[in-house]
């Protein structure tokens, strides 16, 4: 078949298709990426509303908004699972990964477009299931960690927990198929001349993330399969009565769970690297160091899991090993932070909204990383385990790390994705209000944790009242900030600009800036040859 004939055939893949063909039957990486982004925003709203409810209840001691511990646990569970599996992962991997990876490596689409679409639909179904788990009967109050015996049939026999567990199966299959797709795309579909060591750092971050997903998700699938069997089909993997071992579940869960936290943060690393380099108008400092730091983080991520289990009765020697191995993570992470700073050093820095989010990311992620070093110590963790210190720690790396990365990517690429630029002033208002809001929410939680306030309780003694009130005020500021974000979305979707191909100009060097804004349907009908 001649090149011309091929070209004509591809022209059929244009935007001129009906709603059902375009959105329910899509085989286009950009449309599927848009579906992911849309769904991430919807899930983010739900997860955010749940956190507002929790902060309202916790604003003062003795509040009666939520009176049942089971309801509280169900809300905590849904908040955690929705934010992790249905906001952060779909936005960073499904959304930006789908949109940007093929464009950045100079490919017209993903390797397996139908599989790509099925990844999205599995995620969608998983989201329905997690909501069934929240709403059916007393809800599933098992925490995102799903530990038995709390999650076994003795304590929560109803179908709600099964829906929650199956929602993780569905989301897991979605991630697994996505991971296979990304790895095959990145290894097999780079434009001529685009060697591995020339790939943009965001592509590298998605590649490492995809390998983590590929190797971690199936272990979770095995663990929740065993839990479902224990609950419904008479096995006793985790039930001591039959000779089972609940700590086994913790091992299996965290063998998945620890890589999972890097799965959430590595794509944000990639976005921040891209944004910092663009707005400093300098190439990333120490490109190879950045690449191998991500690989090192990915590798170490698989051998530190039991630092989540310091109080589960693991042996002294295990604690020493897992503490030391965990502290090693700080080395490649330090390489990344110093390289971002060195990238900015001497650069011609432009503080546009994406850059604000990226710098905010670096600042807040370092705070979260430092409390991570604290918690890595088995001795300190014995006291701080499951206190609000931990809550503060992982919200600093998630709700200020991963989420700041998402917003940095959103403001950086929305013009390329939708063809309309965000309003700069309101973007900055969004950043500053969000920055103040989340810090006000989570910084006091360090103090609450050090004072001994445990997580997952709907009430507390009056001694913890002050900082809890501050924290709840912070969450209100964050929700007002989110309204600003909705206004920005409204401005973007009603805009009538004509955007340049490379609207950031000098500094934006990746291949997506060589095509129109919004990017054409299959980007590269003819692939670029890289020098």
């Amino acid at each position: 078949m001649s090149a011309t004939a091929l070209h004509d055939e591809h022209a059929d893949h244009s935007h001129q298709t009906g709603f059902i063909r375009r959105w329910l039957m899509s085989t286009n990486h950009k449309d599927i990426g848009t579906l992911y982004m849309t769904w991430a925003i919807i899930a983010g709203i739900e997860g955010g509303v749940l956190s507002m409810i929790m902060r309202m209840q916790l604003a003062e001691p003795g509040n009666t908004l939520i009176t049942s511990g089971q309801t509280w646990n169900a809300i905590v569970t849904a908040h955690g699972l929705i934010m992790i599996f249905f906001l952060v992962m779909p936005a960073l991997i499904g959304g930006f990964g789908n949109w940007m990876v093929p464009m950045m490596i100079g490919a017209p689409d993903m390797a397996f477009p139908r599989l790509n679409n099925m990844s999205f639909w599995f995620l969608f179904m998983g989201f329905i299931f997690v909501n069934l788990g929240l709403l059916i009967g007393p809800g599933s109050g098992i925490g995102w960690t799903l530990y038995p015996p709390l999650s076994d049939s003795t304590f929560q026999p109803g179908p709600a927990v099964d829906f929650t567990l199956f929602s993780l199966h569905l989301a897991g299959i979605s991630s697994l198929l996505g991971a296979i797709n990304f790895i095959a795309t990145i290894l097999n579909m780079r434009a001529p001349g685009m060697t591995m060591h020339k790939m943009p750092l965001f592509v590298w971050s998605i590649l490492v993330t995809a390998f983590l997903l590929l190797l971690a998700i199936p272990v979770l699938a095995g663990a929740i399969t065993m839990l479902i069997m224990d609950r419904n089909f008479g096995t006793s993997f985790f039930e001591p009565g039959g000779g089972g071992d609940p700590v086994l579940f913790q091992h299996l869960f965290w063998f998945f769970g620890h890589p999972e936290v890097y799965i959430m943060i590595l794509p944000a690393f990639g976005i921040v690297s891209t944004v910092v380099a663009t707005f400093s108008k300098k190439p990333v400092f120490g490109y190879l160091g950045m690449v191998y730091a991500m690989i090192a983080i990915g590798f170490i991520g698989f051998v530190v899991w039991a630092h989540h289990m310091f109080v589960s009765g693991i042996s002294h020697d295990s604690k020493i090993y897992f503490e030391a191995a965990t502290l090693v993570v700080a080395v490649p992470t330090g390489i990344k932070v110093f390289s971002w700073i060195a990238t900015m050093w001497g650069g011609s820095i432009e503080l546009k909204t994406p850059m604000l989010w990226a710098i905010g990311f670096i600042f807040m992620f370092v705070v979260g990383g430092a409390t991570g070093v604290v918690l890595a110590n088995a001795g300190l963790d014995t006291d701080l385990h499951n206190t609000y210190f931990l809550i503060a720690h992982f919200h600093y790396v998630l709700s200020m790390g991963a989420v700041f990365g998402i917003f940095a990517g959103f403001y950086f690429w929305i013009g390329k994705m939708y063809g309309q630029q965000y309003p700069e002033f309101w973007g900055k208002v969004h950043f500053w209000t969000f920055f103040i809001g989340v810090n006000l929410t989570f910084f006091p939680q360090h103090f609450l944790g050090l004072a001994g306030m445990p997580r997952r309780y709907p009430d507390y003694p009056a001694a913890f009242a002050g900082w809890n009130y501050v924290s709840s005020v912070g969450s209100m500021v964050t929700s007002v900030s989110t309204l600003v974000f909705f206004y920005i979305l409204f401005k973007i979707f009603t805009g009538k600009q004509v955007l340049a191909d490379n609207y950031w100009g000098e500094g934006a060097t990746t291949l997506e800036w060589t095509v129109a804004s919004p990017a054409p349907h299959h980007t590269f009908e003819e692939v670029p040859v890289i020098r």
Partner: protein, 283 residues
């Protein structure tokens, strides 16, 4: 990245037509996902309400989705110009990565097994710290399990026979090799079925040993069913002459999968059947 390439356009030396296969919009991903929630809901309905209809609908939906989806893929592979070399390589990546994830799935079950095998105290103070647990009579590894090991190892050689016949353009030999492999797969499943129905311990409320035994060997058995089905499809494709000396990845994928299933069995045989056998007592 070198500094002279520090503009977006500056990196591009020219353009060439892309060699990839961009597929048409398809309904099957959505029907696949709907089937998946029917299966998940179906299992919950079986467990809580003893209702099998939703599960049945889900399984029918999933099998039908696979049928029509892979029918499309086979059709595309036989349409000249769609599956160029780079697309074929992409499929190899896809299958290899899928098998890697399957390996990790079994790692979870082996982990559960070794958690008790190496540390019998993890069974808790209610149970004597010995493995296999007290009052468990295990299956003699040198009866059906050894026979099944031989069956699977033999099937590994017959699938290689089929492969070499294909490479020699000997269609009759390929069909023979594949047919024998499928029969050996079915033989294995019959042996496993006999073993399960005559096992000295019960799955339901039988305690930790039957739990890890049946989940590890059961998921392996399920993979044998899948692999046998995969080989059967290739058997019929071979009869229709759909494979050529140069292009037969559908067959290779099935062979890779079959070898994976084989290797998992070897670990099961050594670790669970042989290491985990009870002390030999006078009969």
């Amino acid at each position: 990245m070198s500094s002279e390439a520090h503009t977006a356009e500056g990196q591009i030396a020219g353009h060439v037509p892309h060699p990839y296969h961009l597929v048409e919009p398809s309904f099957w991903p959505l029907t696949g996902a709907i089937s998946a929630i029917l299966i998940a809901t179906g299992i919950i309905f079986v467990a809580h309400y003893n209702d099998y209809w939703v599960l049945t609908a889900g399984v029918i939906g999933a099998v039908s989705t696979m049928f029509v989806w892979w029918r499309d893929v086979i059709h595309e592979s036989r349409t000249p110009g769609l599956h160029k070399l780079v697309t074929q390589i992409g499929m190899r990546y896809g299958m290899a990565l899928f098998i890697a994830s399957e390996v990790m799935f079994f790692v979870g079950f082996f982990w559960a097994y070794f958690n008790f095998f190496f540390y019998p105290t993890h069974m808790g103070y209610l149970h004597a710290p010995v493995w296999p647990p007290q009052h468990i009579t295990t299956i003699d590894p040198f009866a059906i399990p050894l026979f099944n090991t031989m069956v699977l190892l033999l099937s590994g050689t017959t699938v290689t026979w089929a492969h070499h016949a294909l490479l020699e353009n000997d269609r009759r030999g390929m069909i023979m090799g594949l047919g024998v492999t499928v029969l050996l797969g079915i033989t294995f499943l019959c042996g496993q079925g006999y073993e399960y129905t005559h096992s000295p311990f019960n799955f339901y409320h039988g305690g930790i040993f039957p739990s890890v035994f049946f989940i590890a060997t059961g998921f392996h058995g399920f993979h044998v069913i899948v692999g046998t089905t995969f080989l059967t499809v290739n058997f019929f494709r071979a009869i229709q002459g759909q494979f050529s000396v140069k292009r037969h990845f559908g067959f290779e994928a099935a062979a890779w999968y079959w070898h994976f299933v084989d290797v998992v069995w070897l670990f099961l045989f050594v670790c669970i059947y042989y290491f985990g056998r009870s002390a030999i007592t006078a009969a």
